[in-house]
């Protein structure tokens, strides 16, 4: 089994990972565990990558560099959760047995928080009420409430995104309308010729609106492809930078539907307005006479 010779930092602890000779008997800090059987720990993939550690490797955990510690075996390498709250945190994650952790920290038996599983929502409410009524020094919360509380920052960010999106859509709508008016205006002579050969206003407006709708749908689909590609690149980049499976940008089905529907409506309205403006102009004026 390979033994590592490097030092890494672990949460608030300085954990020395140092070479442990194969013949050395590691000191166990848990009761009931054979002296020659090292206890196991799990580390996260970030630590594993930075320290070139693998499952099965033996390492020594200690409170500081050069201090005596326990030789343990890496039992598993965990992947980080896709948690937005964790992307900017640079520390490593290591799971130790509780006694081992207490020994390293120098604390006694102390628990900050713990979770209770309940069979139903009703049981959860009941448990919360009972704990809060009887337990001194503890405050019980539903996990859903905790999640909402911790994600408030992201809700604000999300609102900002929504506001930016709305402004972008309004600006795009005005831009699209102007473009449509200009593009249709370029065809004033074609429209005049169509009217002279006997095409009705309905036919002309219908064809312009149909074309505008087709362009809008094609444009929106193109935009979805561009957005999807950009989203993929953004995710690849930031997932590499922050070493997280978190997806920073997602193009959902709802967003695609909204984009296509919105573009379609805008295209139809813009095409209709532009075409109506042209067909209401006398053909001679369209010819510039």
């Amino acid at each position: 089994m390979r033994v590592n010779h490097r030092f890494v930092c672990l949460l608030l602890l300085a954990v020395a990972v140092r070479g442990a000779p194969a013949q050395q008997t590691p000191r166990s800090i848990a009761r009931g565990v054979p002296q020659d059987a090292p206890r196991s720990i799990t580390i996260d993939s970030r630590l594993a990558a930075d320290a070139s550690l693998h499952v099965g490797d033996r390492v020594v955990v200690a409170a500081g560099t050069g201090e005596p510690g326990d030789t343990v075996v890496i039992a598993a390498i965990t992947q980080r959760r896709a948690d937005p709250a964790e992307i900017a945190r640079g520390e490593y994650r290591v799971r130790l047995h509780l006694g081992q952790l207490q020994s390293l920290l120098g604390y006694g038996d102390r628990v900050d928080r713990f979770a209770i599983a309940t069979p139903s929502a009703g049981a959860t409410a009941d448990a919360v009420a009972r704990i809060n009524a009887s337990a001194f020094g503890f405050q019980a919360h539903r996990s859903a409430d905790v999640a909402v509380e911790t994600s408030k920052t992201f809700a604000v960010v999300s609102r900002f995104h929504r506001a930016i999106g709305t402004i972008t859509i309004v600006a795009s709508a005005i831009f699209l309308l102007c473009i449509m008016l200009l593009k249709v205006d370029e065809r004033r002579r074609d429209v005049a010729a169509l009217r002279l050969i006997g095409c009705t206003e309905r036919t002309i407006v219908g064809s312009v609106v149909l074309e505008a709708a087709a362009i809008a749908v094609l444009g929106s689909l193109f935009g979805v492809v561009v957005g999807g590609t950009a989203s993929f690149l953004v995710n690849r980049h930031y997932q590499a930078v922050y070493r997280t499976p978190l997806r920073f940008s997602i193009v959902t089905g709802d967003i695609v539907l909204l984009a296509v529907a919105l573009a379609l409506v805008l295209g139809i309205v813009a095409g209709w307005l532009a075409a109506r403006r042209l067909v209401r102009t006398p053909p001679l004026a369209l010819f510039g006479r």
């Binding site: 002579r189 074609d190 005049a192 010729a193 169509l194 009217r195 002279l196 050969i197 006997g198 095409c199 009705t200 206003e201 036919t203 006398p282 053909p283 001679l284 006479r289």
Partner: protein, 246 residues
């Protein structure tokens, strides 16, 4: 001969602020089937205004216009559009074909507007393209055709609904001499085959090819002569006070 166009005391004034500018002053003439009439004159003489009134795209200040026996000088926009579709064919100086459509589809356009079935209008469009010598270029887009070919497509489009009257506004204006000559030959052939044509032009060759030439100046007809192509003699028609030789 059947009168296709009957114009009586036609006048058209335009308002320029408080001022009234007369473009036509009491024009009267008749065109029978199948005449080939060229309207010529200097710029601003009123010939385009006259063509617009014959094409039911403008309304006169006074006077009457009848085409194929129907009064058209006071038609509302919808009825004028319908009338143009069924009874009048337009040929423009700049062709005005739809670039997104093929030659055949451009010719099919007025047929589709008239409610003809897909099969019928395709057959009719091909027949017309064959007639103007473009049977093998039906799938080409206007950008793939020369100026002369585009004008032929425009003529085929104008003939689509078998109009009583073909109106052309400077149809050779954008063409070179050789292509212009081909166009003149095509107009002569159309007329020989029974199409009544009124053309507004500055092109002397095109005017000479017509059977009748109406000269305009200052909003009035100053000369109306029938051309004998055999010996190039001209005979006065209606208002022309003196015979003219061309």
């Amino acid at each position: 001969m059947t009168a296709i166009v009957e114009v009586r005391d036609l006048a058209r004034e335009y308002r320029m602020g408080d001022e009234r500018v007369p473009a036509l002053r009491g024009v009267t003439f008749t065109v029978h089937q199948p005449e080939y009439v060229a309207i010529v004159g200097p710029s601003g003489c009123g010939k385009s205004t006259l063509l617009n009134l014959l094409g039911v795209i403008d309304r006169p200040t006074s006077g009457t216009v009848s085409i194929a026996g129907e009064r058209v000088d006071q038609l509302d926009d919808a009825r004028a559009t319908e009338f143009r579709l069924r009874r009048i064919g337009f040929v423009f100086q700049r062709f005005y074909l739809l670039q997104a459509l093929s030659a055949r589809e451009n010719v099919e356009l007025p047929l589709a507007e008239a409610g003809m079935s897909t099969r019928e209008r395709r057959a009719r469009a091909l027949e017309l393209l064959e007639y103007v010598g473009l049977g093998r270029r039906e799938r080409h887009r206007p950008s793939q055709l020369s100026g002369g070919e585009q004008q032929r497509v425009a003529i085929a489009r104008a003939l689509a609904n078998r109009p009583a009257l073909l109106l052309a506004d400077e149809p050779t204006g954008e063409l070179d001499a050789r292509t212009g000559a081909e166009m003149i030959a095509l107009f002569e052939r159309l007329n020989r085959d029974g199409t009544t044509i009124v053309v507004v032009t500055h092109d002397e060759d095109l005017a000479r090819a017509a059977k009748r030439v109406i000269h305009m100046r200052d909003g009035t007809i100053v000369d109306d002569v029938r051309v004998d192509p055999a010996d190039r003699r001209v005979e006065p028609v209606g208002l022309a006070p003196e015979p003219h030789e061309r």
